[in-house]
Symmetry: none
Subunit: 258 residues, 2 copies
């Protein structure tokens, strides 16, 4: 499980609530290893409150004095950064970062995602210890994300990359949903029978004049044709038409059974 090879490193965090929020965001995305470099306040009840159940991550936190210690054993280090830096550095967006993390971790490498101080970010010296810089593409007019929110975005992209690599949970479930949804898609000939039935019903209720059909049927074909109708849905639509025809002829109602 390559997610275990990825550590989140928070440098010199001021607000313990952000440490808790970061822990929750990590656990939501399947990450577990949190390292704090010289935190201003930790342990803290505020961190526990904001972690909202991710206390196992707080309990296992490693607290160190320097970034260097936090990075021991890492083969790839990514550091979050504001956009403009004097020294140009390989710059990734969060999506590329997620892919980079998983690529390394899958090969057995240790990866660190490093986040700076709430107001000042990472120093230039700290940034130079990173192999890649990561910029979250925020609005230049209001660019500074909350620390836990930044952890959330990068952890989310790590999970998306991990799911893609394993072709797992999310996709499998989606397939299930899709297959439930379209369990059995209707066939072209069934759709044609529906259009025939629909046309006749529209004539029966007086909505369609066969002598002047205009664009009515093509428009309805375009609508239903793009809707990927399932067999179940088709049964409902056909049932509605049948009951409409009966009702127009004044036949007694027959309630639908399903």
């Amino acid at each position: 499980m390559s997610l275990q090879n990825i550590r989140v490193v928070l440098v010199n965090t001021s607000h313990p609530g952000n440490i808790g929020g970061a822990a929750r965001a990590m656990k939501n995305m399947g990450l577990s290893r949190l390292v704090l470099v010289d935190p201003v306040e930790f342990p803290s009840s505020e961190a526990v409150a904001r972690a909202s159940g991710a206390t196992d991550i707080l309990d296992a936190v490693r607290v160190v004095g320097t970034l260097e210690e936090a990075l021991v054993g890492c083969s790839v280090v990514l550091g979050t950064s504001a956009r403009d830096r004097r020294i140009p550095w390989p710059l990734l967006d969060p999506r590329e970062s997620g892919a980079t993390c998983i690529r390394q971790a899958e090969q057995g490498g240790e990866v660190a995602l490093v986040f700076g101080r709430e107001y000042a970010g990472l120093t230039n010296e700290e940034l130079q210890r990173c192999h890649f810089h990561v910029h979250i593409p925020s609005d230049p007019q209001f660019s500074s994300l909350n620390l836990a929110a930044a952890v959330q975005v990068l952890a989310y992209e790590v999970r998306m990359a991990w799911l893609a690599a394993h072709d797992q949970p999310s996709k499998q479930e989606k397939l299930e949903t899709t297959s439930l949804l379209n369990a059995q898609p209707v066939t072209a000939d069934e759709l044609e029978h529906y259009y025939g039935h629909l046309e006749q019903t529209l004539i029966d209720i007086g909505f369609l004049d066969p002598a002047k059909p205009r664009h009515l049927m093509p428009r309805l074909r375009r609508l239903y044709g793009r809707s990927a109708i399932s067999k179940l849905e088709m049964n409902i639509l056909r049932g509605i038409l049948t009951e409409t025809q009966k009702a127009v002829r004044g036949e007694p109602h027959k309630r639908r059974q399903d």
Copy 2:
């Protein structure tokens, strides 16, 4: 600037800090329109503190009593959802959601991203008002994100889609999509009126038993909700219902003019 067509709707939020955190996340990603449905506490100094400078968004918040009011004018509604639902619904991941939002907004449509209560999410009835459900692919063992963190992830994907749309202005592709999907999409409230009309008509023809509605309306909502119905098509569908009702009552036919 299509981001202005996208509103974030928070339903029945308990903690004002989350409202502030959501406002900050939105502003970071270039979103500005926040609607609160029946918030437990607002305005609030805690919201202002967590907004951390995004006070213009809090000042412009629209507070309404019902989800229906919050969705007036929307052509696409996406609702965040836990994974398991009895009736499967079109399900998007955050990336697909971002693309869907921007595709609609670029065509001039209004889009809503709806987030439920901190502990209970959205009710089934609220989820049925959404055209798409969005699931953030969290760890099934610890799946519930902080509300502001969930807003952050979806707002981030909206911004990524917006940047992609504007970095690669493949105008031809955009035009094609527009003409395919029709210039004037129907809004959420128009769709709700349609569902009301449809339900009544199904009762009139004896297809729907109000005492035993089963899953009929949710299934029809799912079908029409995913079909991106245009105003023109809506006029046709409403016309069919009106003529069906007249025919059942034995009123004289009136041929459609178009």
